[in-house]
Symmetry: C2
Subunit: 332 residues, 2 copies
Amino acid sequence: MTDPVVSTPITRVLWKEDPGNEFYMKREDLQPFSFGGNKVRIGWEFMRDLTEGGYDAMLIYGDARSNLCRILAGMCAVSGIPARMIATRPGGEREGTDISFNEMITEGFGVPVRTCPADRIADAVDEEMERFRSEGRNPYYIYGNRFGTGREGIAARAYASAYREILAEEKELGIRFDLIAVPYGTGATQGGLIAGAMELRDEDRILGISVSSRTGERARSVLRETVRSYFADRASDGADVPGPERIDERIHLETGRNCGGYGIVDGRVTQAVRDMFLQNSVALAPEYTGKAWRGMCDYLRENGISGKKILFINTGGLPLFFDALGRSRSRG
Amino acid sequence: MTDPVVSTPITRVLWKEDPGNEFYMKREDLQPFSFGGNKVRIGWEFMRDLTEGGYDAMLIYGDARSNLCRILAGMCAVSGIPARMIATRPGGEREGTDISFNEMITEGFGVPVRTCPADRIADAVDEEMERFRSEGRNPYYIYGNRFGTGREGIAARAYASAYREILAEEKELGIRFDLIAVPYGTGATQGGLIAGAMELRDEDRILGISVSSRTGERARSVLRETVRSYFADRASDGADVPGPERIDERIHLETGRNCGGYGIVDGRVTQAVRDMFLQNSVALAPEYTGKAWRGMCDYLRENGISGKKILFINTGGLPLFFDALGRSRSRG
């Protein structure tokens, strides 16, 4: 398949709750491939890496509701690459009407989904890789080794390059954003943006709002490794690999606004999703962009930030909006 | 609110079933407002007309699954215009889990939905207009008079102007499309395209595939009136109003591929939606774009058309894709 990534627009959004700041969104949710989102750019980097490395099958891993898995399944289907997925399911075992649209779409693309407890992932990765090999395939595991590390730098390329796009759009719009806020899930998007900003010697203005279960040092170390790997991959081109201190200066991450963990949302997040839709007709995915938007607004208020121009990266996840709408229908 | 309409891309789509033609899509489904679609452009023309006419409330009418109603409800909510909707529900009375996402979103925007049998619409329109007036409002009924006529020319402006956009994109892409296929529902999109082509003295190449229950002369007469009104509205600017014969020459409409009526789809349509998604990761709305795409492909095959460049207007309707996916989940 050909490169599906397009430049997305930056649009103004209304947010009545905070009239003191100006809000803008980078509309990554409008990437044309398979309901869009940041995972279109990230997935495409994995696909390129797979092709360049001469691999011919893909092992995907993620939560059963994962947007990345939906996107990768779609890219593999369109490209004729056989794929399988290992899925964690923290909410418990799979039940008929609780299957997320993302999972249905992933399976619709012909990708078998194997449920796996969180403490068995490394073994499951080994088994599925071996299964591909026994079929004569040379499989690519998206996260690298059995522990899920080794390809952080690949994923980071997506938003390092998007950062360049943002700078060009700022020029075109005649706006300089004071803060760029981004949902932190795997760290690939924020890490990429930080790498892009460092590479282009732009100032320090990126804030991650964690929607993940990772807290404290673990969350930060993933970001650090993502940025480091990005530069290490480029070292052969003469890129300078920044030391951990220089990277750490750039890491700004709010981990206390995750509603208690990945996939968990509270009533304030649900209300924020509703308000965003009513005020702008823009759909947020409760578990990702909804939670991050709510967290960002709380951060701004608690820190007395006003009179600023804020860019929020709308990382998409549209099927999750419809999952939530469907649940509200079954209840009501 | 400000103009939400953007220029949408034209992208190549794969369609293995017919290797003889080259297929492209005008991605109106990527209009950024409220899940996009052709109704963003059409709804915005109604909003402009409402504003210019000094109206301050809106009466919406449509099928309960209507995309236009979702879009207008969103535009009214964002603009602070009170709105109400009269809905027909051919599938029978409303039941809990059968409420479409479009209807949920319409109601979510605070628009009360009143169900009405098809033979009572004119009376219901009178009643709701009178209700607005008794509240001191000056209401705008999107379709004009109580019989739903009088504003065909307003709606047509949307795609007359989109036709200009298509010509510019053809120039940019270095492609000249042999055929432009478009779903025919209300006639506003096809009528607008025909008006645009006539206004710009471009050749005759627009084909409508009806997804509506209208057949024969009734379907054609709506198109004729849409095109005529468009030019009549412009007559004061010195536009020439073409006679019915000149308009009729431009009307190419397939009405026999509607699966038996509005909202009805068959297994071949469902399969086409699946194939499109698998081959391109592009979502079609079964009742609209899915049916029209299937009908267009059948038309091409039956008429032995090959070696052509075909542009399909993807008029969106994304929530209906998720409705269908949700139904397939409930079935198991």
